[in-house]
Amino acid sequence: MVLPLIEKLPLVAQVKLRRFLRPPGAQKEALFLQNCIACGQCANVCPNQCIDLYGIEAGLENLGTPRITARAQACILCMACTQVCPTDALEKLEPTKEGKRAVQMGIAVLSEDLCYSFAGRTCGVCYRACPLPGEAMTIGLFEQPHVHAEHCIGCGLCEQACIKMPQAIRIIPRLELEETEATKAESS
């Protein structure tokens, strides 16, 4: 929710494409921003050092809130951050299979024209990185990965693991999925 006039200020950068994930346990973006007090406790506790805090670059809305850049360092789903968040901006989850299945950070999308396996060079690295192998991702002939969007939790471990530069598999963050859904709903 942003005032129309304030939106014009340079401070509120309208970064439409945000390749950043929220930590696991985060609810819908609007609800997350409502709850997150920018205390940084999630970033503080992350043993994987994958969370960093937004500066002003993505507008006042995101100032001080946590983000994960999957290609640099993806979340290993240890759930430490969800345990310490004081405001339930991150729902409490356990580092079990059930806990992992409840995460919704985004959805992995594979570009077959970049992927080694689809070019005949058997790779399969992303499959080996996936915390939900056989559910979120299955593997076919020549180790060709197949993402199953309904089970993929968007942790980004596959994106980090991908040995192709640039990566053949990317996470579409939940925020972007929500935005495309909203525009689809509008146009229909």
């Binding site: 409502q34 406790q41 992350c46 995101n62 100032l63 430490a80």
Partner: protein, 310 residues
């Protein structure tokens, strides 16, 4: 005079302690990482060097005094805005107001964190400002610089309406409702300090909060002694308001007070007037105790209103 110096020394020591804790918490991020990645001093040395090994080993030893190091380490974290120390939560009252304004509800753990800060304010008034706030250490230093340079330069000391910081509190709440709670980073000096320390130590980056810290320092230097604390920071105003009837506060012995003396009024960084038995906004910093010539000021139990009127 002696007790004033003692309070002053105590306030400096405790604020330096708070800054140290904030730095230690930011360093804890690296400890978490080393612990879960290597979990062995020798491997830590191979990956991150001798200094890291030293810090890692001693953190490990220290934490194992209390229990499993990894579990204990997770019990502390955050900044002055919302912090956990050994599992005890502390919540900034302004954070609580901000969440209330935007969300209309509090989580239990978050609300429990209010108990200690609010009780402190109820009993001692605005002590947070002199003994805990890491930003006030900066402002204290600036006020000493002003004093040092005052023979050479002229430093104005503006007085404004206290309503100004109430306005900033209201403005901040409205901003928080429209944006997110992160905007307080720019408004609250101690939050800016926390962010700067965390970004610097844990991520090795410069925080944008540094900009507002520079602005606040400039205000303090050019507009008045602890100007930010008096007219900008909403927390200080809020705590002063909560503690306006605090049982422990500045006391004056009217029988020895000199009619011609204004020392305490001149020295008070919060522009309290102990001479007129004013105590609202007193942060028990002890400055006035050090200057009062007949030593008629003291910190103690608030006298009944009937006796203060004489």
């Amino acid at each position: 005079m002696k007790s004033g110096r003692l309070l002053l020394a105590l306030s400096i020591i405790s604020r330096v302690g708070v800054v140290t804790i904030l730095c230690a918490l930011a360093l804890l991020t690296h400890y978490h990482n080393l612990k879960s990645a290597y979990n062995h001093p020798r491997l830590v040395e191979l990956s991150s060097g001798k200094t890291a090994r030293f810090a890692y080993e001693y953190t490990d030893k220290f934490l194992s005094l209390f229990g499993e190091p990894e579990v204990e380490a997770r019990k502390s974290g955050g900044m002055t805005w919302s912090i956990r120390l050994a599992g005890v939560p502390f919540t900034d009252p302004v954070a609580a107001l901000s969440v209330l304004a935007k969300n209309h509800r509090w989580e239990l753990g978050f609300a429990l964190g209010l108990i200690i800060p609010l009780s402190l304010a109820f009993i001692f008034g605005r002590v947070f400002c002199s003994y805990i706030c890491p930003a006030s250490l900066l402002f204290f230093t600036i006020s000493r610089i002003r004093k040092l340079l005052s023979p050479i330069f002229y430093f104005p000391d503006l007085k404004m309406n206290r309503g100004f910081s109430w306005g900033i509190l209201a403005g901040g709440l409205v901003m928080a409702v429209y944006f997110s709670h992160g905007i307080w980073i720019f408004i609250l000096p101690y939050f800016a300090v926390g962010q700067t320390i965390y970004a610097g130590i844990a991520s090795g980056t410069l925080s944008v909060a540094l900009g507002s810290l520079i602005l606040f320092s400039a205000l303090d230097l050019f507009l008045g002694k602890q100007f930010t604390c008096r007219y900008v920071c909403p927390t200080g105003r809020l705590l002063g308001f909560i503690g306006r009837k605090s049982p422990i506060t500045i006391q004056r012995d009217a029988s020895t007070c000199l009619d011609s003396c204004q020392s305490c009024i001149d020295v008070c960084p919060m522009k309290v007037q102990p001479k007129y038995d004013e105590s609202i906004d007193c942060s028990i910093c002890g400055e006035c105790l050090t200057v009062c010539p007949p030593q008629c000021l003291s910190i103690g139990l608030r006298k009944k209103p009937t006796s203060t009127q004489t």
